[in-house]
């Protein structure tokens, strides 16, 4: 079941009262330029923060706008939120920005201000969805009776108009007056705090930003101070002083040498190349460089030792053995030795590769005219 309509037709405070009276649970969304969600449980307000964190978070704004958090702190919290998906309240407590008691007060004040803001919207559209399931995932630190909240909001809206007549612009500057020595006026906690702040800051705008209380409360405290004669208004809004941006401390880079290591690197590369190109082949025994791999090396003539000394000789003897086998096979099947080694390759008795190898290794083949004997010699 949904209850919806325009605020023009039916006052928002009436809606609030209706929900409270019937002790409904659910979500009331109010939309004007932006949308704010208000959660009710059994007719009491428990939160004004969207449980799916899609809408602007009034609590975060409240904390940022009134000086509870510095900008760098806000940024860090935002980063943590985006990376950890933790709730703002959780982060605030765990990171000890506030004690639980402090946060309870802030939470209450924030809801108060948000409700006040909504009620002051001249035009809006509302929609109330009923159901406790809508409250799932809502983080709440309070359960606030609607009646008191409405009354206070109305009072503030009324008084704020009066306050704006006194303090016409936020750009206005005010000046603190000395506390009279005799019979000092009694100040409440908020007034005392603002009075302290006035020692440094004189712009209303700046005061609001650092007062750690709702905007209305700041104005109210200022008005009270004014009435008690501790404040005077400097008529003209003071010229905005250009905020001095502190020049970033340029970290003086240590001057590290550049030329020497570059030179050393080039030298190293050249040296490495020289080693690979000249030194390694000189140091190594002949026939060990990768280029001459597989080709005959250190050929010794057959009359020397029976055992081949180099791998080249070994390969040569292997080729000879293959050829002799092939020739013998030809002899067995044809009755003669072939005219040339080509014949063996053509008849696939030996591989073409072997024939190439034999030519490469300088083996020459001769057969007698009748083909009954042959000679296989090395021409070297």
């Amino acid at each position: 079941m949904a209850l919806e309509g325009n605020v023009k037709d039916f006052g928002l405070s009436e809606i609030f009262q209706l929900i409270a009276l019937q002790k409904k649970s659910g979500m009331l969304s109010v939309t004007a330029d932006e949308t704010i969600a208000i959660y009710f449980r059994d007719g009491q307000i428990i939160s004004t923060r969207d449980r799916r964190s899609q809408l602007r978070d009034p609590l975060k704004n409240y904390l940022a706008n009134y000086g509870f958090l510095e900008r760098s702190e806000t940024e860090r919290i935002e980063r943590i939120q985006s990376e950890t998906k933790m709730d703002l309240i959780d982060i605030l407590i765990r990171e000890k920005f506030f004690s639980e008691d402090e946060l309870d007060v802030i939470y209450y004040d924030q809801i108060q201000e948000t409700i006040q803001e909504i009620l002051s919207w001249p035009k809006s559209y509302y929609k109330f969805n009923i159901g406790t399931q809508l409250l799932q995932g809502v983080q709440s630190r309070a359960s606030i009776k609607v009646e008191g909240m409405l009354m206070e909001s109305m009072r503030r809206i009324d008084e704020l108009a009066e306050l704006f007549r006194i303090f016409t612009s936020e750009k206005m500057a005010v000046k603190r007056l000395e506390m009279p020595q005799e019979k000092p006026p009694k100040l409440d906690r908020q007034e005392e705090f603002i009075y302290e702040l006035l020692e440094q800051d004189t712009h209303i705008e700046r005061l609001i930003e650092t007062a750690k209380m709702a905007r209305f409360c700041t104005y109210e405290a200022l008005k009270n101070l004014l009435e008690k004669g501790l404040l005077e208004i400097t008529e003209k809004p003071v010229e905005e002083k250009a905020v001095e941006i502190e020049p970033k401390a340029v970290v003086k880079k240590k001057h590290k040498p550049r030329l020497l290591p570059s030179f050393a690197t080039i030298l190293l590369l050249v040296a490495a190349f020289a080693v690979g190109e000249y030194l390694v082949p000189i140091v190594l025994p002949p026939g060990w460089c990768a280029a001459s791999m597989g080709s005959p090396s250190g050929t010794t003539d057959q009359s020397g030792t029976l055992l081949a000394d180099g791998l080249g000789e070994l390969n040569l003897r292997y080729t000879e053995a293959v050829l002799k086998q092939g020739l013998e096979e030809h002899m067995a099947s044809r009755g003669t030795y072939p005219i040339s080694l080509e014949v063996l390759a053509a008849k696939k008795i030996i591989l073409r590769r072997t024939l190439d190898e034999a030519q490469h290794q300088g083996l020459t083949y001769h057969t007698t005219e009748n083909g009954l004997s042959y000679s296989l010699s090395r021409n070297q």
């Binding site: 943590i80 990376e83 950890t84 933790m86 959780d90 982060i91 765990r94 990171e95 000890k96 639980e100 008691d101 309870d104 007060v105 209450y108 108060q112 606030i144 008191g148 206070e152 590290k256 040498p257 550049r258 020497l260 290591p261 570059s262 690197t265 190293l268 590369l269 490495a272 190349f273 080693v275 690979g276 390694v280 025994p285 026939g287 060990w288 990768a290 057959q302 030792t305 029976l306 055992l307 000394d309 180099g310 000789e313 070994l314 292997y318 000879e320 053995a321 293959v322 002799k324 086998q325 013998e328 096979e329 002899m331 067995a332 099947s333 044809r334 009755g335 696939k348 008795i349 591989l351």
Partner: protein, 633 residues
């Protein structure tokens, strides 16, 4: 003396022309008349086996198989196997094709093939040499490639420690170039795998985990052992060397007496092989029936080596042929005192007893010969059956030949495997163990001596390399500067945990992608990267062997009489399949689930915060909510 021998040989050739041919069963089955007549000639020259005709038949059979005429091919293969005696290839081809046709004969044929392999010295030695070489190459290659992958894996660590020292002093060239510069320097020096292995061990050791260190040490020990025993590879050299004394002498087991063989063997002049040479020459002459000369040579052989049993047997044979049975008997008995298990000696002895009418002794000896396997001799020397021989001649036994190879190998100047591996290692392989042992000692010392502050380890959160200099230990966990920066100034453990976890996920994801690309360089790389070092080395070894066999078109040392070299398609398919499979496994290897504990910061921190939290919620009762007492109401 040699010239005289040749003269004798030539006259013997004339004699042969008038010799009568005896019944020779399988030879009659050879269809080609020329091959048949060649076979008879060979038999008359006393060949123990008809290798060349067998090879021709084998080749014909392979052609027939290609044409699809299996039945006639099968007959030719069987004949080839019968003719050759100890040539295993026909049996392997038979078994392979029978297997493809689901013929149950494939198993016995396969077994017979392996039996021949075991008996045939030359094939045995070739297989041994190839095996030894491939194991050596695979071991060195696996060590090198595993080290390369380990370096890739731990490169960020190595680079970090370089950076830490370097960037403190210099700004140009930038620290990120250092790795590339080192790589270019190392590659352009081309100092060979041995020294590269040394450099890699030294640079990666400190970063390795214990398991990886153990495996690496295992591989180093294995390669060192191979290197230490590398001089033994010289025994294999005479086997694969077609001109070596051993190989020449072993030919009398394969061929009949012909000019060339006679010349080859008589050409051996080294006195170290004198007994064997004279024995071989005597045997060749005996085959031709030139008995007096044969006797002289064999006598000379036994004078040179009194413990050479085969010479006594063949000497006995010469006396037997000369009908000098007493001397024949003495010869066989001499052989038996040296080698009592010699079936041939017993058999020939039995035959001599028959001639001397000593039938009891004869049957005794013949029974003993049967027990010791005289039938095996007949199958491995098929050509001897084609002639009606009463007594059989001995060749070189496998043991004799290994012995000869050992003796001959020792005369080699270099180390055989060192020569083969030299162009790759650029370092004598037989001294590589010294290099490896020293390198390992230095590496271990560096590992122990490096102070903890200079050691590089993983950030406990994001795995990025950190060292004692830059790590942040404030929170009880070693974090890299970036991770520490993320949680700087925070006090809640829960928030810090959440932030760290977020960062970890982000970093690991990007890292995994980069690692993936890097590790696909070689098969097995992914496994090593993920710490599965055994699987990694296995795939590296397998693909290395496959690549080697592709490069060599089979084996490194080839048999000149082998037909297999002529290119079976399987020689290509199997290695390629192994390589493809290894790559595929590497490629499909999934990133292991992050097994690290969910919590990053130490337990105690969390406990403290939990307690604090509980205490607070207890002390704030619901009733005293501030707004209920606040004066605004």
């Amino acid at each position: 003396m040699i010239q005289r021998c040749i003269a004798i040989l030539l006259s013997a050739g004339l004699l042969l022309a008038f010799c009568t041919r005896s019944a020779a069963g399988p030879v009659e089955e050879i269809e080609d008349a020329r091959v048949r007549s060649y076979s008879y000639d060979q038999i008359m020259q006393g060949t123990p086996a008809l290798l060349v005709p067998s090879k021709i038949l084998y080749r014909e059979a392979v052609d027939l198989i290609e044409k699809g005429e299996w039945e006639s091919a099968r007959q030719k293969l069987m004949l080839a196997a019968d003719l050759s005696g100890n040539y295993p290839d026909p049996f392997f081809t038979l078994a392979k094709n029978e297997l493809l046709r689901f013929d149950p004969n494939c198993l016995p044929h396969l077994i017979e093939g392996f039996e021949r392999l075991a008996q045939n010295f030359y094939v045995q030695a070739l297989v041994g040499a190839n095996l030894a070489l491939i194991i050596t190459i695979a071991a060195i290659g696996t060590l090198f490639l595993t080290l390369m992958h380990m370096t890739l894996k731990y490169w960020p660590f190595i680079e970090h420690s370089i950076r830490e020292r370097y960037s403190a002093r210099f700004s140009f060239p930038p620290a990120s170039w250092i790795g590339g510069i080192f790589l270019i320097v190392l590659v352009s020096m081309r100092i060979g795998i041995a020294l590269y292995i040394m450099i890699l061990i030294l640079s990666v050791w400190v970063s390795l985990k214990t398991k990886e260190r153990v495996v690496l040490i295992g591989m180093i020990v294995f390669v060192s052992a191979l290197s230490f025993f590398a001089p033994c590879s010289n025994t294999l050299a005479p086997v694969v060397d077609q001109g070596s004394a051993t190989r020449r002498l072993s030919l009398i087991n394969e061929r009949g007496t012909d000019d060339e063989l006679f010349r080859l063997i008589s050409g051996i002049e080294d006195p170290a092989y004198g007994a064997s040479r004279d024995y071989a020459v005597g045997t060749l002459l005996y085959r031709l029936g030139i008995l007096n000369e044969a006797r002289d040579f064999l006598l000379s052989s036994v004078t040179m080596d009194k413990d050479f049993a085969p010479a006594y047997i063949n000497l006995g044979n010469v006396y037997f042929k000369q009908e000098d049975y007493n001397r024949a008997l003495a010869g066989y008995q001499n052989a038996l005192t040296i080698d009592g298990e010699n079936a041939l000696a017993h058999y020939n002895l039995g035959q001599t007893y028959i001639e001397k009418m000593l039938f009891a002794e004869s049957s005794n000896s013949l029974r003993r010969a049967n027990e010791l396997g005289i039938e095996d001799y007949k199958t491995t020397h098929p050509a001897t059956q084609f002639r009606n021989l009463t007594i059989f001649e001995e060749g070189f036994s496998v043991r004799n030949l290994w012995n000869l190879a050992y003796i001959e190998g020792r005369t080699r100047k270099g180390v055989f495997f060192s020569e083969i591996l030299g162009p790759f290692l650029l370092f004598p392989f037989h001294y590589m163990w010294i290099l490896l042992v020293l390198t390992t000692i230095v590496a271990i010392t560096i590992g122990i001596k490096t102070p903890k502050a200079k050691k590089t380890f993983n950030c406990e959160n994001c795995d990025r390399p950190v060292c004692g200099i830059c790590a942040d230990e404030e929170l009880g966990a070693s974090l890299c500067p970036d991770c520490a920066g993320v949680v700087e100034g925070l006090s809640s453990v829960k928030v810090m945990e959440a932030l760290l976890r977020h960062r970890r996920q982000k970093i690991l994801k990007s890292q995994a992608k980069r690692a993936r690309r890097r590790t696909l360089l070689l098969p097995g790389g992914t496994h090593i990267y993920q710490g599965k070092i055994f699987a990694g080395t296995f795939f590296i070894t397998a693909s290395l062997i496959a690549v080697a066999s592709l490069a060599w078109r089979g084996f490194y040392f080839k048999d000149p009489s082998s037909l297999i070299d002529s290119g079976s398609i399987w020689r290509l398919i199997v290695p390629v399949a192994v390589i493809v499979y290894s790559y595929l496994v590497s490629f499909l290897q999934k990133e292991p689930k992050d097994s690290r504990p969910f919590w990053i910061l130490p337990q105690e921190l969390r406990d403290i915060e939990k307690k604090e939290h509980e205490r607070k919620t207890e002390t704030v009762p619901k009733e005293t909510m501030p707004w209920e007492t606040a004066d605004v109401l």
